[in-house]
Each structure stands twice: as C-alpha cells, then as structure tokens.
C-alpha cells in the first residue's frame, strides 16, 4: 500500500485551499495540496468582477467600513447567515485585499481627479481625491451600499489565483495534481486523511494527515446549465456525506446568476451592471426599474434573477433556438471602458457569441452559479461532528452567505477563509488530539474497500448508462429545483433522484481500464452527485418558506417564526435518502435583527423575539458609543479570530491609532 504522510492534507487547489496551505506552512507544519487539475486551472481563476473589501478609497466608496459591509452581507443572506462569521469576514476582507496587494496582485488603482462613469444609464462625472491616488479602487456591485468591489479589470480571480499559487511555489508547498480523494479515512469521530486516486495511473494511495481540509468548491454541475467549471461536481460535499458522520449545511441554498450567456452558460460579470450595464427585454425596454425602483439592475442576485424570469413569463423574453433570454446592454459604457475593464467579457462575447459588446446586446438568462451550502463547519472551519475535518471556501458552509451570496463576496471569502482556517488547522495539528496517528491497518481497510469498489464498477455489466442518468439528474434539478420551486415538483424530483440513485448502481461499462479512463470517473462520481442532488432537493422540499435564493411559489413568505434556522443533512449508511435536521439561528444574539431587505412587497412572518432584540439593539445605538465599542457590545466576535488578525483596518479617514 502506498502511504503518504503530511500534517495538513488540503483537498482542492483553488484560492481557499492554497491560501490555507500557506497559513499552515508558515506555522512550520507540512501542507500538501491535492487537486483534480493543475492548481492554476481551478475554478477560482474564472471569477471576474472582483472581491469586496471595505477600503473606502474611491469617491463612491467613501464612508465605507466593516459595519456597512457586514450589514450588506447579512441583508444579502436574507438573515440566513451566521452573523459572527459575517462579522469576522467583513473585518478580514481589507486585510486579505492588502495581503494580495503585497503579494503582487495588480489591483486597479484610484486615479486622482475627474472621470466619467455611467450610473443608472446616465453619464456622471466623479472626482477622486488626491489623497487616494494610487490606492486600491473599487467598482459597484449588486446589493451593496458602497462601491466596494476591488478588481483587476475583469480578471480578478485569475490575478488572485496566480499570486497565491506563486506563493505556494515560492514556499515549496507540494501540489499533487490530477489526483482525486475518493474517501475520507475515519476512526469513529476522527478524520485521518483520505484514500486518493491518481487520475493518470489509476493507482490508489492512502494520504494520512493530522488535519484534512475540504476546499473543493461548489456543486453547480448537478444542474444542466451552470456557470461553474466542469470539475465543480460537489465531490467535496459527497466526501463528507459518505462518512455518515459529518453534515452538510443549507444545501438547498443555490444561487442563480442573472447574466450567463445563452446558450453556453458562461458567466459575464456582475461588473457589467455595476459599471452601468442595463437589462432589456424583447422590445429593447429596460424593465428592472418597474420591478425594483430603488436598486434596479443592482438588486441582490436572487432578486434580479427572479425578476428576469418573471418578466420572461409575461412574454417579454427574446425567443431563440436555445429557449428564451433577455438582453444585457453595455453599449453605453463605450469601447474604451470595455477594452480596459471588461476584457474577459469582450473575449467571451467575441469567441462564443460572435458579437462585439460595445455595439451589440448580449443574450443572457439566469443560470446556476454558486453553492451557498456545503460542508457544515463552526467558525474555525472544523466539522462539529468529525474531528480533524475542516472545510473552507465555496465547499464549506461556515456560514457567511446564508441563502444568498453577494457578488464579490466569494473571492473575498476564499482568501479570508483560507487565512483563518489555515490558522485553525495549524492549531489543531499542534494539539495533542491530532498527534494520535492513524493505524496503518485502518488506512489499508479503507484503501482496499475503495479498490474493490472501483474494480466492481469497472467490471459492471448492468443495463444502465451513466451519461443518460446524469443528463436526467441535470434536467430534474434545472426544472424542479431551480429558481422557482413548489412542493409537488420537489416531491417528484426527490422520488426521481432516488430512483436514479438506485439505477446508478447497475451501470454497464464499455471501457474497463483502471488508469486514465473518463468513463470510470463518470461512473464512480455519478452516485455521489446524485446523493448531493438529493440533499439539495429534499432540503428544498422540506423548507416551506422563501428565503434568499430559495423561493417557494407555494410558500412565498420568509417565515422567521418557523424557519430562522439552518438545514443540516447527513447520510446514514444504507439509507435511500439523507437525514435532515435543523440548527436554530439565535435572534437574541444577532447584531442586525431580522428585517426587510427592501425588495418587492414585504412578506415576512416575524420571529417572536425579533421585536425584543430590535429594542435592545436600538437602546444600545442610542448610547452613542464609537462604532467599535458599539459593535463589541452588540455582538463581540474578535475572540474568534487569531490574535494576529484582531487589529483595526486603516483607512484614509480612519488612520490606525
């Protein structure tokens, strides 16, 4: 048996995983990164528009700070997030942006003096202060009260991923790419690493580690059309689920991005609308102000996506051979702006649509984009049920996004979570608990089990075809577990997915090779994807309310009285369906008690304690403390941060003491 040993095994080579590995390495421990693909091909690279950090340098960002970012994030989540985590995040985001500046990210910078921008379809002149010249600038994004999204043109994910992976190389952290974790190695409630398959040779090895980190990104590819990379198949969530011990959080919280191109499903950034782009219908009419007069195109993503679908249902969509769509119009921004700030968008339009976005409208429609749900962890990134198992980034639900993520908060989260979880992983590795090694016999048992499973799959002579079952799963998810959901369709989806899962155990294989064999990969991933899909569908069926991206036509109200909680999903060995239970969100500890997001008509069933908490909060606010003191009275959070990250963030208007 091939055995590898490391302190921290990081599964996933995207931004969160790589940043966590650097944190571990800098604490004098060994970290090893596993990646399905060369780490720089990870899906982080595709993030375009930017990352939110409340630096407050540019004119439209003045007055921004952690408080505003925190409140935007909580509102964006439709009060579904963990407010402590949202606070930790808002506090850390400026540090992450500044670390990246020092590591080489060529952030776009503030240029002093007057410049022209487009706001609400009008050309407006802004003046940038002299004092801000050369500091990191920001653009507008949806659901935010300030321009807060720091960017490098529209290739921000690329610039960040390259800077971070450059550090990984500089600090000699090994990346084992083209390798896939097949199963976690467990000893009761303790995780000791993973059984890993080499995707080229097919060889299995046991990677034993003090701590194991799932940083595998989202599960968008259970849907038929997704902006996600092809590798985002939810295998991290499946790894945790298959333990029968670890739990997943809020799997039904799935985001649909308003502007993916039709038919390819490739994203064009929210920065298009942030920079002044408009949504138009079949008549060339700008419809968003009719639905959301205040935020218009820059309402929260879940809201814009639903409004677009609603408008198409009213017959205002543009018909095409690939179904209906709407238009994204960025012609008003001008060719020069597009050439500088929306370069990837221009390339995508040119290569995949054959159009020039400076002259032509872009065909778009809402498309699966982000997984708010994931491996449930505490604020340190560790699974409460499986010691030694950590998770960070999109793969995790620690839970800063609740039921809807704000644009620009995912890149920021990858870095912040990597910084924080890297520290807690290092703490854990240094603890006595982590020192208890894994018995080799146990590793062998897990490896042999996977080996036998693969051999059985490769020799399968059943009458089912993996491709057919997978396409059916994708269709069911898109049709019944999408933007609009209802009880009967969800119940039918759960039944059909469960049936597909049974059928997926009877595959017939044409290529029986055990080394690089894409058919084998598809065959062993399929039942895992179906299990992940079932946690999403069942979670959506049981949640009889509408919150953020989870919208039930039969239960349109946000029901804080019954559903101010987080769904937890686990899968007991041998069961046909996941087991769900719920974790309460404690209103009496919220810094920002539940309220109205300000979109559409208010439709909320209040929690019985909301009014009491609101009056406590109001009373404290009337005491007129300085904002830091007030915050710590409302909801202290700094004790959860590593000491090195507890300091205040400097701004032009708020110099460090």
């Amino acid at each position: 048996m091939k055995l590898m040993h490391t302190d921290a095994l990081i599964i996933g080579g995207g931004l969160a995983g790589q940043r966590a590995a650097i944190g571990v390495r800098r604490r004098g421990l060994d970290a090893l990164i596993l990646s399905l693909v060369p780490a720089r091909r990870s899906h982080s690279v595709a993030a375009q528009g930017g990352m939110q950090a409340s630096l407050g340098h540019c004119a439209k960002g003045e007055g921004d700070n952690e408080d505003v970012h925190f409140e935007d994030t909580v509102r964006g989540s439709d009060w579904g997030c963990d407010q402590i985590v949202a606070r930790m995040f808002a506090h850390m985001a400026p540090k992450a942006a500044r670390e990246m500046a020092a590591w080489g990210v060529p952030w776009n910078r503030v240029r002093r003096g007057e410049h022209q921008v487009v706001i609400n379809g009008e050309h407006v002149s802004l003046v940038e202060r002299d004092a801000a010249h050369g500091l990191i600038t920001a653009r507008d994004f949806g659901g935010t009260r300030k321009w807060r999204t720091c960017h490098t043109s529209d290739g921000t994910g690329h610039a960040l991923l390259y800077a971070v992976s450059d550090r990984v190389i500089a600090e000699s952290i090994p990346v084992h790419d083209r390798k896939e974790a097949l199963a976690l190695i467990l000893d009761g409630g303790r995780c000791h690493g993973a059984v890993v398959r080499d995707l080229v040779s097919g060889e299995l090895a046991a990677y034993l580690a003090g701590a194991t980190v799932i940083a595998t990104g989202g599960y968008g590819r259970i849907y038929g059309v997704s902006t996600n990379a092809l590798i985002n198949e939810g295998m991290g969530a499946a790894l945790a689920l298959e333990t029968g011990v670890a739990r997943l959080g809020n799997m039904e919280a799935v985001q649909f991005h308003p502007t993916a191109i039709v038919p390819a499903g490739i994203l064009v950034t929210e920065g298009c609308r942030g920079d002044g782009g408009l949504l138009k219908d079949v008549d060339g009419y700008r419809f968003m102000p009719d639905y959301e007069p205040d935020k218009k195109e820059l309402a929260s993503r879940d809201v814009v996506s639903r409004r677009m679908a609603e408008h198409m249902r009213r017959g205002k969509g543009v018909r095409s051979p690939y179904g209906e769509h709407l238009w994204l119009d960025i012609t008003g921004l001008g060719a020069d702006h597009i050439d500088r700030n929306l370069r990837e968008v221009k390339d995508i339009c040119q290569y995949f649509l054959g159009i020039d976005p400076a002259r032509d409208y872009i065909p778009v429609r809402p498309t699966q984009h982000y997984s708010m749900g994931g491996v449930r962890t505490d604020h340190s990134g560790q699974s409460p049920w499986l010691a030694g198992l950590f998770s960070c980034g999109e793969a995790a639900c620690w839970d800063m996004h609740g039921f809807n993520r704000l644009g620009g908060n995912s890149l920021a989260e990858t870095l912040v979570a990597g910084m924080l979880v890297g520290e807690s992983v290092a703490d854990y590795c240094a603890s006595a608990e982590a020192e208890a090694g894994c018995p080799t016999a146990l590793a062998r048992e897990f490896l042999e089990r996977e080996q036998a499973e693969l051999a059985a799959i490769a020799s399968g002579r059943g009458n089912e075809e993996a491709v057919t079952l997978r396409r059916r799963m994708e269709t069911v998810m898109t049709d019944s577990v999408g933007l609009f959901r209802n009880g009967p369709a969800l119940a039918a989806a759960v039944d059909e997915l469960a049936d597909l899962l049974r059928r997926s155990r009877h595959l017939g294989m044409r290529c029986r090779r055990l080394d690089a064999n894409p058919e084998l990969v598809q065959a062993y991933r399929l039942p895992r994807m179906l299990k992940v899909a079932l946690t999403v569908a069942l979670g959506a069926l049981r949640r009889t309310e509408s919150r953020g991206a989870h919208f039930r036509e039969d239960f349109p109200a946000r029901d804080d009285r019954h559903w101010l909680n987080r769904t937890l999903a686990s899968w007991r060995p041998g069961d046909e369906l996941p087991t769900l239970d719920y974790e309460v969100l404690d209103v009496m500890h919220m810094e920002l008690p539940p309220g109205f997001r300000g979109y559409g008509v208010k439709n909320i069933i209040d929690h019985p304690l909301t009014a009491a908490r609101q009056s406590e909060v109001d009373e404290l606010r009337e005491a007129r403390l300085d904002r830091h003191a007030l915050q710590s009275h409302l909801m202290a959070f700094k004790q959860f941060l590593p000491e090195r990250y507890r300091g205040r963030n400097a701004r032009l208007d708020e110099p460090l003491p």
């Binding site: 060369p38 540090k95 952030w107 910078r109 390819a264 400097a650």
Partner: protein, 240 residues
Amino acid sequence: MSRSLNFAIFRHNPRDPADVPRTQEYRLDETPGMTLFIALTRIREEQDPSLNFDFVCRAGVCGSCAMLINGRPGLACRTLTASLPPDISLFPLPGFELIGDLSVNTGKWMRAMSERLRAWLHFEAEPEVDALEARMEPELAEQVYELDRCTECGCCVAGCGTAQMRADFVGAVGMNKIARFRLDPRDVRSDADFYEVVGDDSGVFGCMSLLGCHDLCPKRLPLQTQIAYLRRSMARQGLW
C-alpha cells in the same frame, strides 16, 4: 443544411506498452454554435467513452484545453467548428508529457519552469495587513496586469522553434513572467538577478525570434515586444 464533420483524433495510451500511437476517425453532424468542447464531449458520450482530453472552465480562461487544431496550437473550448473546414485533425500539444490521447501534462511543465525561474514576486517584507497598502500608479498597475494575464496554456511552447529543439527552453511563458516581475516595482530583484535565471541559451538568448508564440497566444500578450525588450536588457546586463 448542417455539415458532416470528420474528425481525425490522435489516440495513444503511453502506459500501455502494446498500444501503438494512431489516429482514429469520428463523424459528427455539426450543430449551430458548436465548439470543439461540445464536439469532443459528444464524441465521448455517444461514440467513445475512453477518449481523454482536458476541459475545465470551457470558457477560454483556464488554459487547460490547448491542442493542435488542424496543426495549429489553440484553445479547443473557444474554437467554433464553423471556423474550420469539415475535416478536423486534433493532436495533443507537442513539447509536453503525454497523459493520453489529447491530454498533456502542462501543469508539471509550468510548475518546473516557475521553480527554475523563481517566478514569484520577491517582496522586501511581509505586509502589514492592517495598514494602508503601498501606492501604485494606476497606469503601471494596468501594464502589470497586461502581462499577468498569461494562462499557462502552453500554446507558446508548442509553437516555438527553440522549444522543439531544446527541452530546457523556458519559452515565451517563462520570459513573459520575468518581464512581468521586472516591471513590477514591488519586486526587489535587479537585472543581475533576472540575468541569473534567463541570461543564457535556455532563456532569452535561445529565442530565434520566429515569434510563433506571439502569433498563437490566445490572450494576445505582447510577447514580441516583451521578449525583445528583455533580451536587450539582459544583453546589457551581460556586458557589464
């Protein structure tokens, strides 16, 4: 009326000593908007589940899917079949270790190149993350980003005359990285340091100025100018 496309695709499993490299033919009916990503996925799903190739983002940004398309290196995911004649040959990118069929190990090559060239920002000290970041001229940040856009797809190496003759040649991808860090005021290295890593025939003096790299770069990086400029600076450094 839709065209019938004839694909001739390179097949070989280098781990099987009995396997002889060959091309295999597949036929597909073209659909509107069909890319090589769509075509290869259909071939794998409908005709041959064993066919190896690499797509990750399928949006032209991750650099995974470079291959020889009718003899020319390019990104398969964003190549429309409509831009090609009905006979399409697909071969793996030369200059990289073959994994199987159209899949090559660019990741291993790129990591080795980065390690050899020390291709990361050499900063003076770890940042004080609570303090205001160091200022940078907006134009300079944009110029650095221009060179930072490389996706390490390998097209420049596949299209390089020197790389075909010298396995240790760093390629335009390597020289562009040096140019990028050289331009970046946050990097403390001097030309003497850069000369150490690219000042020989495996580096900037190995370039024969055929400039296949410049013509083939999917991101249209200004490789011609950057290589010329770097060579001049390194020659000056060598003469001191």
